[in-house]
Symmetry: C2
Subunit: 215 residues, 2 copies
């Protein structure tokens, strides 16, 4: 009986890894759609979000079913409750990629991001994609050093985000208010995506060590 | 034994009602701080957020402890898992009030909101505060009609939010880009606050009826 349960826990963990990969891919494509005004890619991200939602719902049902059947206590119960929280974070990351893709679609055939902000947005897109990939590895390997690294990776995103807001509010912005509104929302989406990734990574850290990750 | 368990479930429900009241109050004060540039009120909201977080952590630990000890199945387990999700939504609503208060504090002694947007922001503040209060009543009474009403209340917020963004991007905006960035973030915070309230209300609706609320 115990080994069936262990297989089930491993299955949950693997699904969380799969979900991380899906949202990493979704973020990568959303940024590609955004910077290239690629309508087809944007549509792909938007339709993938539904798949991510379905995947998460199936995973959550499975977790609740395991709790009901196996009646775990202590650390196993805690791991399953944490898995529910991680799946919620990952699903939300999918939503945020979806929001980015929707801005790309809304502005198509124009490019939503002014040319002189491409570098910073590409940087944010690359960094958030890497964070999501790393989160998958943290879940899979329970590598606490890598979990701590993610705190620094998030600092990079926060710095880029501040830089972006700085460019909007420096007084030399000449791209109009509508573009500033878009850029404010985009900055927020990238930042929140990274926050949720860090949240997942901290949950793994806590499960493994019983302590909160120090930042 | 069963009646102890029932008392525990009632206690969880009451704590969620208390949490709703705390975030409603927090949103009310955040809007007051924002429109009046009231530093003391902003500080109060900011420090209340920590209390909300502590309250939520205590509640979550209690819920997990109930699951571990009582080993509920079927509908009782589902209700407890749902309570965890509702507490996460409510905690997030507290964060969003906190974000609003932080903008008020950042711009003090200036008022962050330009005078001709006061009406729309006051309207958003009132509507979101009422939504949070109503959510408390929905949790307490399990009134499904009121849960459905919340869907319409959320539509009002979405309309106000669109109106706000429209004012920023209409071409007649003359308050500068920094103010537009603030207003974009503020609009987003109010909108997300309402989204989380609706999410809580939908969870109650589903627990009571076994069906998803139709919108």
């Amino acid at each position: 009986m115990r080994s069936v349960f262990q297989d089930e826990l491993d299955g949950v963990s693997q699904s969380l890894v799969d979900l991380s990969k899906m949202v990493a891919e979704s973020m990568k494509k959303a940024t590609e759609a955004l910077l290239g005004a690629e309508l087809r890619v944007a549509e792909e991200v938007i339709s993938t979000d539904e798949k991510i939602d379905d995947f998460q719902h199936e995973l959550d049902s499975r977790i609740i079913d395991i709790i009901a059947r196996q009646q775990p206590v202590a650390s196993d119960l805690r791991a399953l409750i944490t898995a529910l929280r991680m799946s919620a974070d990952l699903e939300r990351m999918g939503d945020l990629s979806h929001h980015i893709a929707k801005i790309a679609r809304l502005r198509h055939p124009e490019v939503a991001v002014p040319q002189d902000l491409h570098d910073i947005v590409r940087h944010m897109g690359d960094a958030t994609t890497k964070i999501a990939e790393k989160v998958g590895t943290v879940i899979e390997t329970r590598n606490t050093n890598m979990a701590l690294e993610l705190e620094q990776d998030d600092d990079v995103i926060d710095t880029l985000h501040r830089e972006l807001i700085g460019k909007l509010t420096s007084g030399s912005w000449d791209k109009g208010v509508a573009a500033a509104v878009d850029m404010t929302l985009l900055g927020r989406y990238y930042e929140r995506f990274a926050d949720h990734a860090v949240s997942v990574s901290r949950r793994v850290y806590f499960l493994v060590t019983g302590e909160f990750a120090k930042h």
